[in-house]
């Protein structure tokens, strides 16, 4: 049976049309950029998870929107991603989160930077569509994204 992992994905967009991403190493892709978010912990709501993650950025969050739900299925793990968009916030970001560098990246440059393969699919949709996004993504045994089905 697969390990089930509920996780949040948090896009924070400022008024310069930039989103806040974390620079991290990746097993296959070298340095990549990923949105904030992590495993929803025991007894934590997804909303509380978003608050917790945002606290580490130094930003004061006023409003959050749940914009998508993506189920990712691999050989061993099944992720349920709760994707949030935050556009209403105050304050300045810290330099890093737990040793990872935080960067504001222009949305028009998202194609040029290294994003995880699934994020490359859903990030443009979450950031441009007014509708709620629901989808199922399937990975092969080598963790290559092979299928995306949206509802």
């Amino acid at each position: 049976m697969r390990e089930i992992r509920p996780e949040t994905v948090i896009f924070i967009r400022n008024n310069k049309n930039e989103i806040l991403l974390v620079e991290k190493p990746h097993l296959h892709y070298g340095e990549i950029y990923i949105p904030l978010g992590d495993l929803v912990k025991d007894s934590e709501s997804t909303f509380e998870n978003v608050r917790r993650n945002c606290l580490t950025t130094g930003l004061e969050i006023a409003d959050t929107k749940l914009k998508g739900l993506v189920t990712e299925v691999s050989k061993d793990i099944q992720w349920h991603l709760f994707i949030y968009l935050i556009e209403d916030f105050k304050g300045e970001t810290t330099k890093d989160v737990e040793g990872h560098k935080l960067q504001w990246i222009s949305i028009v440059k998202l194609d040029e930077i290294a994003l995880p393969q699934a994020d490359k699919v859903y990030a443009p949709i979450i950031l441009s569509s007014p509708d709620f996004y629901e989808a199922k993504y399937t990975f092969d045994d080598d963790m290559k994204l092979v299928k995306t089905e949206s509802i």
């Binding site: 190493p25 990746h26 097993l27 040793g99 990872h100 990975f139 963790m143």
Partner: protein, 397 residues
């Protein structure tokens, strides 16, 4: 052996499935030590050295007996033992006292190692030394460079690394320049091997109690008797005086001179209990068990692809403690640590207060560290390896 010992630590029965591999950060506490704290506060809590009533006399008697227990534990004399809040306070105090007592040149020349914890770097940098020599690590994470510069005033070093587990050849280094004052931080080694201050011939030796199964907030500073007599105190206040007048003061002699203020009495008494706990097992047994697990951990870590291990290879327990740091290429140590945390596996991620080692020698910003103590067993290691394999699956996405 280890399950019997594990049962003596209440935290493992309160947290079923807990895998605690972070003893280099702080050790868990056996029931006898916790009971000793409770006993003090419930049966004879009072201040020491001041009251002429039975409770205070009992507290004073128990507190002073700790000095004897610790002295015997490290082969010192009771009047060479000072209680501090921990090794950090002790090193800060020694650095200032050496300076204020005129024992060293101004500005001094200091010898450290590349493995130092920040607590053994910053107090020396604060003296604005003329020069700091860092004894370097070889390719196998060992210190083979054992020659202190001939004009060094001070040799300050950890006894064992909190990152690589490397045991520093202290005796050999001290012998290379007997004119330099030696200050050894045995915080990492004290719970894992016999320390003999006379055999090492150190001038100062310190350790924090909380890594020795004792509570936090208590530590020990050994000062060689002939040095202590001439050394200025590093804390001033109540309890350490001979006489105070409007125009000046004179100080008490011996350890009292260095223990201004109300000490952490309960923690000191519990520290003695921690030493008795260690004595009840014996260092021979401890070393045997930890060495077996160290080798097992290294063998199992080899199963992990793209792992870089920062720990000496093909050495015995005489050269390395069971403290092993590593990185898995392509995954940040914080992410792995957080994943392991989800599985109730406690390891440490970060630079472990050794930025010089991480940045200048290992060339990484951070690492993961697994550290072993008497309560660990093979099952703990197996769960760690399973956890690391799980983390790799998660972060492959």
């Amino acid at each position: 052996m280890n399950n019997n010992i594990k049962n003596q630590f209440p935290i493992f029965s309160k947290n079923k499935g807990l895998v605690y591999l972070d003893s280099a950060s702080t050790s868990q506490k056996p029931k006898v030590v916790i009971d000793k704290l409770v006993e003090f506060y419930t049966e004879y809590n009072s201040n020491v050295h001041r009251g002429l009533y039975p409770l205070s006399e009992k507290a004073t008697d128990e507190y002073e007996k700790v000095r004897e227990t610790i002295a015997k534990f490290i082969n010192a004399e009771p009047n060479e033992i000072i209680f501090t809040s921990g090794a950090t306070e002790a090193i800060n105090g020694v650095s200032r006292s050496l300076y204020s007592s005129g024992f060293i040149n101004v500005p001094p020349k200091i010898t450290l190692t590349d493995l130092e914890h920040h607590s053994n770097v910053l107090p020396w940098q604060d003296l604005q030394p003329e020069m700091i020599q860092y004894l370097g690590l070889d390719d196998n994470y060992l210190i083979n460079d054992t020659k202190i510069f001939k004009d060094s005033d001070i040799f300050a070093s950890i006894h064992a690394s909190n990152v690589t587990g490397t045991i520093i050849p202290i005796k050999e280094i001290i012998t290379s320049n007997e004119n330099a004052y030696s200050i050894i931080d045995a915080t990492q080694s004290i719970a894992h091997m016999k320390i003999d201050v006379k055999d090492l011939d150190v001038d100062f030796l310190t350790f924090s109690g909380h890594k020795l199964f004792a509570p936090t907030g208590i530590g020990v500073l050994y000062i060689k008797e002939e040095i202590m007599k001439e050394l200025n105190p590093f804390k001033l206040g109540g309890g350490m005086i001979d006489e105070v007048t409007r125009n000046g003061s004179t100080y008490a002699s011996g350890p009292t001179k260095f223990e201004a203020g109300t000490p952490n009495i309960a923690a000191a008494i519990a520290l003695a209990e921690a030493v008795r706990f260690i004595d009840s097992i014996g260092f021979e047994e401890i070393k045997l068990s930890e060495e077996r697990l160290r080798l097992y951990l290294l063998e199992r870590l080899d199963e992990i692809e793209n792992i870089e291990i920062y720990h000496p290879k093909n050495v015995t327990g005489k050269e390395a403690l069971a403290v092993v740091s590593f990185n898995i290429e392509g995954i940040h140590s914080h992410d792995i640590s957080a994943y392991l945390g989800e599985k109730n596996i406690c390891v440490r991620a970060g630079h472990h207060c050794t930025q010089i080692l991480h940045r200048d020698v290992l060339n990484v910003p951070a690492s993961l560290r697994a550290s072993i103590s008497v309560y660990n067993n093979e099952e703990d290691i197996a769960k760690l390896i399973e956890g690391l394999k799980g983390a790799i699956k998660i972060y492959k996405k």
